[in-house]
């Protein structure tokens, strides 16, 4: 049976990782970068873009080569494809977005070790067609990205009183009333707590996600 490009099955490839199969909140993968770079919304967006690019390209390349890759070195092949793409992104950021590149510093390089990417390559792209792999990669990258952006939004707003580096208009009055930015928001533990809150909301809305002990 031939599936159309946007069949229900295909749409699920994108929607599942955004929700009930989310790589960060359900599978708890890729947590390291979610903690490290979410103090500012801008960093989260650049990181998301980088991951989307790396993940889609890697998935498609691996999917195209899936019948050619020798089984014994398949993990190495996946790693090299991801590493090459990440090095490419790093170079491009250094050349065209130097400030963002400086702030993200080592975390761009660490995309290589982002478990989501290798996980999807091994679990999906190695055994599926290019279009399916593309959708799966896009879905997972977006699922990762929206959590990053949501966490960064909360942390920058309450931690620095800014968004995308710009002051929020109404905050002047709040400061006058005695409101203060919460420095804890900037520190790593708060990223974990915000992710935890998202997980809480998600599981209370969908009881099936709660593991039985």
């Amino acid at each position: 049976m031939k599936n159309s490009f946007f069949s229900k099955q295909h749409r699920k490839l994108i929607s599942d990782p955004m929700g009930d199969q989310n790589p960060i909140t359900i599978q708890v993968l890729g947590i390291c970068s979610a903690l490290a770079i979410t103090t500012q919304l801008e960093n989260a967006l650049v990181m998301t873009m980088a991951v989307i690019f790396v993940m889609i390209s890697a998935s498609m390349i691996i999917s195209i080569l899936r019948n050619k890759i020798p089984n014994r070195i398949r993990i190495i092949v996946q790693l090299i494809v991801v590493a090459a793409l990440v090095a490419l992104v790093d170079q491009i950021l250094k050349a065209f977005l130097p400030d963002a590149s400086e702030k993200l510093s080592v975390f761009i390089g660490l995309i290589i070790t982002n478990c989501i990417i290798m996980g999807r390559l091994e679990a999906f792209a190695m055994g599926n067609k290019v279009w399916d792999s593309f959708l799966d990669a896009l879905g997972n990258a977006l699922g990762y990205g929206w959590i990053l952006v949501a966490v960064a939004f909360v942390r920058e707003l309450f931690g620095s009183g800014k968004l995308m580096g710009y002051e929020i208009p109404g905050f002047d009055y709040l400061y006058d009333l005695g409101y203060m930015n919460n420095n804890l928001m900037i520190l790593p533990p708060m990223a974990l707590i915000v992710v935890g809150l998202i997980i809480w909301v998600q599981r209370s809305r969908n009881k099936e996600l709660i593991e039985e002990n």
Binding site: T39, K68, I69, P70, N71, R72, I73, I76, V77, I80, V81, A84, A87, L88, Q91, I92, K94, A95, F96, P98, D99, E102, S105, N183, I186, L187, P188
Partner: protein, 252 residues
């Protein structure tokens, strides 16, 4: 062809590595000029920040040319040596443990702002987690600090990382590195806070003691070298003054 044979596996690996290697090498080469330019712009912004000039990447070159009128290099005994001061990477020198102290080059940038002359000194040191660096500008008396801008690679956010904030940097203004007896004392970043009215101390960062001490050491080690140069030019300036006085006398 047998996909699991050794020959196939090796061939596949070799071709893949070649393709990836060429791709990355070409990208790196093509983007090299832009990356260099970005680095140079960033350095100009940092240098200018030491005299309180805010530049952006867009106008860094223009502002740099406007304010910085000269750059010199000195060696570890305070003698001026030849070379391009801007291109010296002090961080690289700091990390290079094989470099002899006498081969180290110390760049200095001379700035003129509102008809006053300033000397901008780059410096590198060690914080808690990684390197820290900064630019300190001195007034034309070569002892009063006009401005300071620090930065770090990986200090703890909220603690040591505060060295790049105004709260830490502003108190340096007006401090002196030479005491009333003419001795070099540098500036101490003092744990628990600087003594009231002490010209040679600034407040340390609570919870960032190791980073604070790193700044103290960095200031001392770097300014000590530059001070030997300053002492030599102050003496020769005095000589020139005496000479010109003598000349005047002779002319009369």
């Amino acid at each position: 062809m047998n996909k699991e044979s050794n020959i196939y596996t090796f061939t596949f690996a070799i071709i893949m590595v070649l393709v990836v290697g060429v791709l990355l090498a070409v990208t790196s080469e093509v983007l090299q000029p832009r990356k260099k330019q970005n680095k140079a712009d960033k350095k100009m912004i940092d240098i200018l920040s030491a005299i309180g000039i805010d530049a952006t990447r867009a106008n860094a070159k223009e502002k740099y040319d406007q304010y910085i009128y000269d750059a010199i290099i000195i060696n570890n005994t305070g003698d001026v040596i030849e070379g391009s001061a801007f291109n010296i990477d002090v961080l690289f020198q700091y990390r290079d443990k094989t470099l002899n102290p006498e081969d180290k080059k110390y760049p200095m940038f001379k700035a003129r702002k509102d008809n006053n002359d300033y000397s901008i000194i780059p410096m590198v040191g060690s914080g808690l987690w990684g390197p820290i660096w900064g630019f300190v500008s001195l007034e034309s008396d070569y002892k009063t600090i006009y401005g300071a801008a620090f930065n770090h690679k990986a200090e703890t956010p909220g603690l040591g990382a505060e060295i790049n904030t105004d709260i830490f940097e502003d108190p340096f203004k007006g401090k002196q590195i030479i005491n009333n007896d003419g001795e070099f004392v540098s500036i101490e970043v003092k744990k628990g806070g600087a003594e009231e009215g002490n010209l040679y101390q600034v407040d340390g960062i609570t919870g960032g003691t190791i980073t604070s001490d790193g700044v103290t050491d960095m200031l001392y080690n770097t300014l000590k070298i530059y001070n030997t140069y300053f002492s030599s030019i102050i003496i020769s300036d005095d000589n020139i003054d005496t000479l010109s006085i003598n000349n005047n006398i002779e002319l009369k």
